[in-house]
């Protein structure tokens, strides 16, 4: 058993995270503002049951922008991505299992 296994103690090279430049960030911001406008105007249209999904999808896209660029997760260590993934999956599981109760109640 040689010491070949990856030990994330050693990857200090990403200690200082890479940040996108001014320009990229401003572009992301423009995207976010546009998405806000879209979601507000879409809300005016009567989409029925789709409305919630559309609103949520837009919100998810927006938050992905913030997470990946503003919070530069895209350029950061893989461990942090896994952490966030675990957290989101946990939340989804909780939601799902609770709804197994709510939707099947008599």
């Amino acid at each position: 058993m040689e010491n070949t296994q990856h030990n994330d103690h050693n990857d200090d090279h990403i200690a200082v995270a890479h940040h996108p430049s001014y320009g990229v960030n401003i572009l992301v911001w423009i995207g976010l503002i546009s998405l806000t406008c879209i979601t507000v105007s879409v809300a005016g249209i009567n989409l029925g049951s789709l409305a919630l999904s559309v609103a949520l999808i837009i919100a998810i896209v927006k938050s992905l922008f913030v997470i990946n660029f503003f919070m530069h997760l895209k350029f950061d260590n893989k461990a942090l991505k896994i952490f966030l993934g675990i957290c989101v999956i946990t939340f989804v599981i909780i939601l799902l299992l609770t709804f197994f109760d709510l939707t099947f109640r008599t």
């Binding site: 806000t36 507000v40 952490f83 709804f99």
Partner: protein, 211 residues
Amino acid sequence: MSNHIEHAEEIHEIHIHRDDFGSRMGLWLFLLTEILLFGGLFLLYAGYRYIYPDGFIAAATELDVLLGTINTIILLTSSLTVVLAIVALQKSNKKLSMFFLWITVACGLLFLVNKYFEWGAKFHHGIYPKGPALQNMSEGEVLYFGLYYVMTGLHGLHIVVGLAFIGFVMWQIHKDIITSTNFQKLENSGLYWHLVDIIWIFLFPLFYLIH
């Protein structure tokens, strides 16, 4: 299985070495708890919205979409300025960095002022827990406003904490404790601020944009 003995003098100084990534990891872990803190509330929201779809739609009409949109834009902008402050500091432009942070603080305060007027208007109309108007509303509406106050209130509290964090960081930048090579604290305050922003990104459509 090698059994050689390593003399590792060079690691002896490990305790003074700075671990930016470790610090960031700690903050991310904390953010996860924040996500789940609000997650609990989102779970309640989902449950009650499922049980009382009509009440929620009726109640949402009471909120001012314009005000909500303005607040969204304010928060998104403040998020941008935090990032720009980091980029500026990285480029050793301390003045510019401080300037961006001031904008962030201003945006945060503006957001709170808006919220204050929004809540004030609701209170004025008797829409508050045990308030006269709320008592005549349907169950779904009561729950909607209960959650509205709790969730936006908790979010507001996070804004306050975020502002305090950023204020502290600004003071340290001013004192040159945080510098272009040592800015993890600024990063962390930024990460926190973005999370508060993300939560708002979800609160906004869920409360303001239901029809």
